[in-house]
Symmetry: C2
């Protein structure tokens, strides 16, 4: 089913029909701007004369980056709506305020976070976002606990999991993350100098583990995961917003949500810590920034584990013993490390790149990408032997001399 | 929703309305007998004057063994219908011929297997059913492969899994297998002499592993498993039927079907091998029977692995490497051993007993049950260290002297 596509001229009249929305904004003075930079959606910012604003998100019936040649059901906005409904119940502080889903028109209305920064952009620019890693870990823990048999009766989880099936978006992840980077595929691309590194990934020992993680992605229906929880799916506040009491991060873009392995969201986060870390080293960012990035895995995982421990007394089943919790955390961690390796590889080799690496000069990017690929292989193959976030990130991605003018201490001071 | 309950007087008129059924049997001369001995359903055998027959199964709106105090949706017959539809497509030789589901009346029409024997009864009586263990392994492999991402595109599996959600029946398994045997519960019962053994199960080391297996049962949506694949869910043919070309077994009672871990069905099978094995030893059955029972785990697992290998070239995704297959088989085996331990315990401690043990004299039953509980604990706690079916069953459950008149060789000849 295809719903009528909104444009900047039709958004105000449309919003006038949405329950509750006319009370949030003065539609008679509203101006509308289309700001979508994603692949799958239209995103409008609507502002009134009093400075109030809203975001309107409508799913397109195709993948925007590729165009109408890749049709995609607009139903994915229903998946995103389910994600926001769950997050609103479990951790409303860590998502944009949610003003409802119009299932017929495939439209979500959300808080406007234009004054916030997409976390990846902050990381790219060397700006520290205090507490953002921990906030993402807390978010992941609340969703993992509150949508799963840890926090709910099993019947309720099984019904929710059935309703949350999201096969089209899972297929995108399956292809882009788990399949295409390891075969010849026209959507792949990389710097020529990396060809040997990329082809070296196709060895049986690695491919067996990739298959095991793909199978786990497709069969471990543990919780309503985000499904694409990278630094481009997180908004961070600036100093002014923080001073006004803003939380350290807000998670958005939940359209890949489905019942999958809890470790997947943590894994995409860890991979994006790696990109930021390698970039910061290659650009020789100031020590405070480099250290804040190097600490992200420990921050994120620490917050996740702490939040699970905090929620544990509310568990839905006395069978979930503390010993089981510890074993469960170990398994989630191992899954996360493995999935992080997959996410790391696909962002170098596959269709969807990351600005952390793409915006580097070629020589720097090649060197950074080599570190990423080497680390990713280690994560995938050794995931059951990596006990925790200590030592997860590579220590040595030597800076390019003079690559960043802000360099203020001897090279290798942190190695 | 509750559908009108059939009785012996209304079955013929009802069958006259079912498409295709009047061609299978002469309803004008039909006689009807109610033969259900299960807990959840009415089962009618309908025979005509020419000796043709059919089975009609209708789900009751409560658990029959407990009575109307335990209401249960009749929707479970839809789960059973899904199980038969899948099995009919993938392994029609190893189920009763399936003549359709009436979703409105909650009725299945099936081949009448009255001339066959429920496998548990044959095992109880010391009768060998050649090839039955292997047939169950083959059945489990075909379903595991053909309903999962091994054999189907992921989208199709995700849609099928959502449609196959069966929360009410999963709750029964969750409670009876994974919860009640390990707590004080009015549905539990055991011989007084076993109290120490039963209470000793409630130690943290075991309970952590029980929790891990329960979580796996609830979250590992790998394939459309049977969900209750014990020796009471399998018909075996006698010599005459085998001579006429009957398969070695037919699987039935699929109402617990849902997308769960592949190892669960194999585990319930292995546990029931243990019951038969311990009974055969305690009763000192003839060596040929004891050896055939002792070989059941190897037969079942060997047939499962062989059938997976045979189907492997038809896998739906080139990502599933041979190395992944081997790792997958190891994981399925470990799951099976763990789930077998759970099934073994619940049949001694929980609500639903097995005739293998219940029909023994008290002293024999107590000794057999001790062996079962000891073995079950080993299976659960050591499952990752048990490499295969060799040595899975306990070697020594010493016979009761003179307990079986057919004893024909020195005690301990097989020890």
């Amino acid at each position: 089913m295809s719903a009528e596509v909104l444009d900047v001229t039709t958004v105000p009249a449309y919003l006038a029909t949405r329950p509750g929305v006319p009370g949030l904004i003065d539609l008679s003075t509203a101006t509308v701007q289309e700001v979508g930079d994603g692949n799958l959606n239209l995103v409008f910012v609507v502002r009134d004369a009093q400075g109030r604003s809203l975001v309107v998100k409508q799913s397109l019936p195709y993948v925007r980056m590729v165009g109408e040649s890749w049709p995609l059901s607009q139903d994915r906005i229903l998946a995103e709506g389910r994600g926001y409904v769950a997050a609103q119940a479990l951790t409303p502080d860590l998502i944009p305020a949610f003003h409802g889903l119009d299932a017929d028109r495939r439209v979500l209305v959300l808080e406007d976070l234009s004054e916030w920064t997409v976390w990846r952009r902050a990381l790219d620019q060397g700006v520290i976002a205090p507490g953002a890693g921990a906030a993402v870990g807390t978010y992941a823990a609340r969703i993992a606990f509150g949508t799963s048999v840890l926090g709910l009766p099993a019947e309720q989880v099984q019904e929710a999991a059935a309703a949350a099936a999201n096969p089209q978006l899972c297929r995108i992840t399956q292809d882009l993350v788990f399949t295409e980077p390891f075969v010849d595929h026209p959507q792949n691309s990389w710097d020529d100098a990396l060809t040997g590194d990329v082809l070296a990934l196709r060895d049986p020992a690695l491919l067996h583990e990739v298959a095991a993680l793909k199978y786990r992605f497709l069969t471990a229906g543990q919780a309503l995961i985000h499904g694409d929880l990278h630094s481009g799916s997180v908004f961070v506040p600036d100093k002014r917003l923080r001073a006004a009491g803003a939380p350290a991060a807000k998670v958005f873009d939940i359209e890949f949500a489905f019942y999958g392995p809890v470790g997947f969201d943590l894994g995409t986060s860890l991979a994006n810590h790696l990109f930021a870390h390698v970039r910061a080293q290659v650009l020789d960012r100031p020590a405070a920034f480099r250290e804040s990035v190097a600490d992200l895995p420990a921050q994120t995982w620490g917050a996740f584990a702490a939040e699970i421990a905090r929620l544990w007394p509310q568990r839905a089943d006395a069978s979930w013993t503390d010993g089981f919790r510890d074993a469960w955390l170990r398994e989630v961690w191992q899954d996360a490390v493995g999935f992080a390796g997959l996410e790391a590889i696909r962002r170098v080799v596959g269709l969807a790149k990351v600005s952390d690496l793409q915006s580097l000069a070629t020589d720097e990017r090649v060197r950074a990408a080599r570190v990423v690929l080497t680390t990713a292989r280690r994560w995938i193959v050794d995931r059951t032997r990596i006990a925790g976030p200590d030592g997860l990130l590579p220590a040595a991605a030597s800076p390019v001399p003079g690559a960043d003018a802000r360099r203020s201490e001897p090279a290798g001071a942190r190695a």
